[in-house]
């Protein structure tokens, strides 16, 4: 390959797109490198027309000239898979950012690409297969321990056909490039299996027996989500919301508390500061499930808003490919993409440069199908080994003007299983998380009893109706019965839906505690109370709310908690009424 490189000249530069006149053979989505000075900058073919090919450039195009040469690689845009991905921080093209910083300092110099995995590190390998075994791509020949994760070494997924194992490395320490197995293909040719392999990011990994229906809840420790709008393991959800409604805070809370084995965070076109919080804080936070650092189960793909736009487009694919790879180990992975709107905007920018006929709000016509096929990479699957693995995808959406009628939100709503709509109204009133309890929905089963949940939802609905009505007819014109429903819905909102993310106890409510809490709140909702006047009713519910909220900050079943529960009982008994 080195001897006959395919080199073609640039004939046009327009922003981050270059046009190349070619004479050889060119593949759609092939990776190429443009040379400017000493730097080689990465590009991807996105359209071929006549004798011209248009390429999106993953870095700044400053300084490129007509006549400069572009080298084509014949490879699709791929990521490297293997042990050592966990705890890493990559840009959209899988360049490790901490290592880049060591090499080029404060700024991201263009044209520097580093290996994604550490080639020095030694891993303790244990073989599972033996010489003579017949294997196909995806079959496991052994494993290494990556933290608590059993990381299987596979016959590369992109190979085709059947192979015979000729030899497998003995148990011991190896680096990622060492030969772990020698195989012979059907034609009698020899190949080496190492710990790493490559996979093109835009193609899903489909090496599994069947896709299953996601039904088991993925506990996020967020009460509004797990109880009211649950997300299933292997399901999809989206969190659209205007700026300042708390999308990112919610995503961080989910990424910290969700019961997943591996969490891939794709910070796509958002603020660098938010990523820095993850980078600096996660190593010191503990994963309650394993007792290890939260970083040990995380991979961060970070292509913030000021980093090149085309790499932003690639970053969500990079992230989902890594999630798919860990799913193949029989793990539950969670992919959080913040924000998919920025990804869609990157598509829009390229589409504009290609002068394609624009769809709604200048987004390309293929936007919907791209969003759909991205979310379809989620799912619960039964692997060929009989284990199950899953990818849950949560995407935040940043609709222009906070208006959910825009193309990205609408295309997303069509394909997700749960919609957690954040509202400006709630965030202005500091009711966090600002997930709107009336507009949001979920198709997945909740952790509490369905009839009780429906009852609670009913209270919220009627409470909101009464509130609307009160704005028209005033409090004095409202019947006591309706007024109490309104107070109950406010009570439910304040003591159950609202949750203080920044508090260690209130911020994460495990499923068991949610059930207990929900039962307590449910009892208040269904109880009958008697009051002579509205002021007394308001006072009672304010007091009750205070007791409940204080208890939310206490350790479950501590002495303090039990004392508080006694106070609650006492207060309730002063007003409760036995129905005839």
């Amino acid at each position: 390959m080195e001897e006959n490189k395919i080199l073609e000249p640039i004939v046009g530069v327009n922003g981050n797109m270059i046009t190349v006149e070619y004479s050889g053979r060119i593949m759609q989505n092939e990776v190429a490198y443009a040379s400017v000075g000493d730097a080689r900058i990465k590009c991807e073919v996105i359209r071929v027309r006549g004798k011209y090919a248009d390429l999106q450039v993953f870095e700044s195009t400053n300084g490129l000239k007509v006549g400069d040469l572009v080298e084509f690689t014949g490879e699709l845009l791929s990521v490297e898979l293997g042990p050592g991905l966990l705890t890493q921080v990559y840009d959209g093209l899988q360049n490790p950012l901490p290592q880049l910083a060591e090499k080029s300092g404060f700024f991201l110099q263009r044209g520097i690409y580093l290996r994604a995995l550490d080639r020095e590190k030694r891993w303790d390998f244990s073989p599972l297969a033996q010489a003579g075994d017949q294997v196909v791509p995806g079959d496991r020949i052994g494993f290494v321990m990556e933290g608590v994760v059993r990381h299987y070494i596979m016959v590369p997924l992109r190979w085709r056909g059947k192979y015979t194992l000729e030899s497998v490395a003995a148990a011991g320490e190896y680096t990622i490039d060492d030969c772990m197995a020698q195989v012979i293909d059907e034609n009698g040719d020899r190949h080496q299996v190492t710990m790493t392999q490559h996979w093109p990011v835009k193609i899903p990994i489909t090496d599994y027996a069947e896709k299953l229906l996601p039904e088991k809840p993925l506990i996020t420790c967020q009460r509004t989500i797990d109880t009211f709008f649950p997300v299933a393991t292997g399901g999809t959800f989206c969190t659209p919301g205007p700026f300042g409604a708390g999308k990112t805070v919610l995503q961080h809370a989910i990424s910290q508390n969700a019961e997943a084995d591996v969490v891939v965070i794709a910070a796509c076109g958002e603020r660098a500061g938010e990523v820095v919080e993850i980078l600096r804080e996660y190593p010191d936070l503990t994963d309650p499930r394993t007792g290890r650092s939260l970083m040990d189960r995380s991979i961060i793909i970070c292509n913030t808003s000021s980093m090149p736009v085309s790499a932003r487009e690639a970053s969500v694919y990079t992230a989902v490919t890594l999630a798919e790879y860990y799913r193949q180990m029989g793990l539950n992975t969670l992919l959080l993409a913040d924000s998919t709107s920025r990804w869609a905007q990157a598509l829009r920018e390229m589409s504009g440069r290609l002068e394609e006929i624009p769809g709604e709000e200048a987004f390309p016509a293929y936007l919907e199908s791209l969003i759909a096929s991205f979310y379809e990479r989620a799912g619960l699957v039964k692997l060929r080994s009989g284990e199950t693995g899953s990818i849950t995808i949560g995407g935040s959406v940043s609709p222009a003007g906070g208006n959910f009628e825009e193309p990205v939100t609408q295309a997303t709503l069509k394909v997700v299983g749960a919609f957690l709509g954040l509202s400006r109204e709630r965030s202005d009133a500091r009711r966090y998380p600002a997930i709107h309890p009336l507009d949001s929905w979920s198709k997945y089963p909740s952790i509490v009893d369905k009839t009780q949940l429906d009852y609670a939802r009913g209270v919220l609905h009627r409470g909101s109706e009464v509130n609307q009505m009160m704005k028209v007819i005033g409090e004095e014109g409202t019947a006591m019965e309706d007024f109490i429903i309104y107070l109950k819905s406010e009570f439910l909102d304040y003591t159950y839906l609202q949750q203080n993310t920044f508090d260690a106890i209130d911020g994460a409510t495990p499923a068991e505690r949610q059930r207990t809490m929900f039962n307590d709140v449910y009892r208040v909702l269904t109880s009958a109370f008697s009051f002579d006047e509205k002021e007394a009713a308001r006072k009672f519910f304010l007091e009750l709310r205070q007791l409940f909220t204080d208890r939310n900050y206490m350790t479950l079943d501590s002495a303090e908690y039990r004392e508080q529960s006694a106070l609650i009982e006492k207060l309730i008994s002063t007003r409760s009424r036995k129905d005839a």
Binding site: N62, G63, K65, L97, F107, S305, G352, G474
Partner: protein, 431 residues
């Protein structure tokens, strides 16, 4: 000797197209016309056709004028000699003093590696309760003031700049009224801050294209100071004019507009500037305060909308006051846990009650009877507006928190404010 090209084949808006060989993308060129020599920048290459945006405007350029490519990109000096100086949108002196050319730094340098950033940790005190208590400003934050024409946003900007403890102030003015420029200059001078200020001023009378360079130059200078360990505050006013200049060029280049004529890459363009705000690992910091005027007070207009998604919050200036709703500092959590134990509780409780006050006002305006609770809210709301929101209030954070408790205790009972009981016990004023 660089080659000179003559063949201008298109002049449209402020963009000219010339037939030339070997021009590089983003390179600078000189256009010599009857009006003198002007700088221009390459914005598209298509075969041998090179499109350039002309900084002083294309007016008066003829098809036979000369174009000479300079083989370098736009740069600005990053030296200490800039302090106390005023420059225009091309980086040339506006104050009749000599040019500064040493320590040339390219503008629009690549973005900072997120791995080299640190979590912001220092509060910037402004003595404005609506900022210090409710939406604390933090060193290295990027924050716009959303406002409409006629509001005192430039005054607010100047006041924050003077009260903030920073080493260097950089003012980038885009489409600034000449009067406003003079007011800025006078205010900074009166407070003895001119000596630590650098100004890049594009006034409303200057050619539009020059406005495009102002943020990049201001931020390039800020970056070189920050790398020397300085804490820099960059003031940019008004970013809506910058966005409009982008729109003008995009339309001239026949790009497909996304919303209301603005180009599809508006978000990336704005982000490229705002993301320069940074707290460096083992060096200085850059804090950006910008003004974004909202045409028609419409926060869903593409410029404020995109800005809101990029910046770490916004101050919403309306009726001469910073509105508690719509205003937000995303970084306040980084610092307000370490100021005083009651800070967060006061912040949340007061805003929640103020929101209730607003709904009571609505009820009142519809003529409903006010309950005892409503009366309490009305009393509270009035005091909050007069003693907290008014911009003339100038008290340190601790005083403002005490005042908050004072107001709450005056208007409500202990269990009505929704604050955790242990804090109530510690701070509730005895009377």
């Amino acid at each position: 000797m660089r080659k000179v090209y003559h063949k201008i084949i298109k002049i449209s808006g402020n963009v000219i197209t010339v037939e030339a060989e070997g021009a590089a993308y983003n390179e600078l060129a000189e256009v010599s016309s009857a009006r003198g020599v002007s700088l221009a920048q390459v914005i598209r290459l298509d075969g041998n056709q090179v499109s350039l945006q002309v900084f002083s405007g294309a007016r008066g350029i003829s098809t036979g004028d000369q174009i000479r490519f300079l083989g370098r990109e736009m740069s600005v000096s990053g030296s200490e000699a800039l302090l106390g100086r005023v420059f225009n949108g091309r980086g040339l002196p506006r104050d009749n003093r000599p040019e500064v050319t040493d320590e040339a730094t390219p503008i629009g340098a690549p973005s900072v590696n997120p791995a080299k950033r640190i979590i912001p940790r220092n509060m910037i005190r402004t003595n404005i309760p609506m900022i210090d208590v409710f939406n604390t400003l933090v060193e290295s934050q990027k924050l716009p003031i959303f406002s409409v024409a006629g509001e005192p946003y430039n005054e607010l900007l100047a006041r924050i700049a003077l009260q903030a403890e920073v080493d260097v102030i950089i003012l980038g003015g885009m489409g600034l009224k000449y009067d406003d420029y003079l007011i800025f200059k006078r205010t900074l001078d009166e407070h003895g801050a001119l000596g630590r200020t650098v100004m890049f001023i594009h006034t409303a009378a200057d050619p539009v294209v020059e406005c495009l360079m102002v943020p990049d130059m201001s931020l390039a200078v800020a970056e070189s100071y920050a790398l020397k360990g300085k804490r820099v505050l960059v003031l940019l006013t008004d970013m809506t004019n910058f966005a409009d200049a982008l729109k003008e060029i995009a339309v001239t280049m026949e790009q497909i507009p996304a919303t209301r004529g603005y180009p599809g890459d508006l978000y990336s363009q704005l982000a490229g500037r705002y993301e320069k705000a940074v707290d460096f690992d083992s060096a200085g910091s850059i804090t950006i305060l910008a003004v974004t005027t909202m045409p028609g007070d419409d926060v869903t207009h593409p410029v404020p909308d995109n800005t809101g998604y990029i910046t770490e919050g916004q101050f919403y200036l309306k009726g001469g006051r910073i509105e508690p709703f719509g205003s937000l500092s995303r970084l306040k959590q980084q610092v307000n846990g370490r100021t005083r134990s009651d800070h967060r509780a006061i912040m949340d409780a007061m805003i929640r009650l103020f929101s209730d006050y607003r709904s009571t006002l609505e009820k009142q305006s519809m003529g409903f009877r006010m309950s005892a609770w409503d009366e309490k809210l009305l009393k509270y709301g009035k005091r909050f507006e007069n003693e907290m929101m008014d911009l003339s209030v100038n008290i340190p954070l601790e005083k403002a928190l005490d005042l908050g408790w004072e107001i709450l205790a005056d208007c409500f009972d202990r269990n009505e404010v929704g604050i955790k009981t242990d804090l109530i016990e510690e701070f509730w004023p005895e009377r």
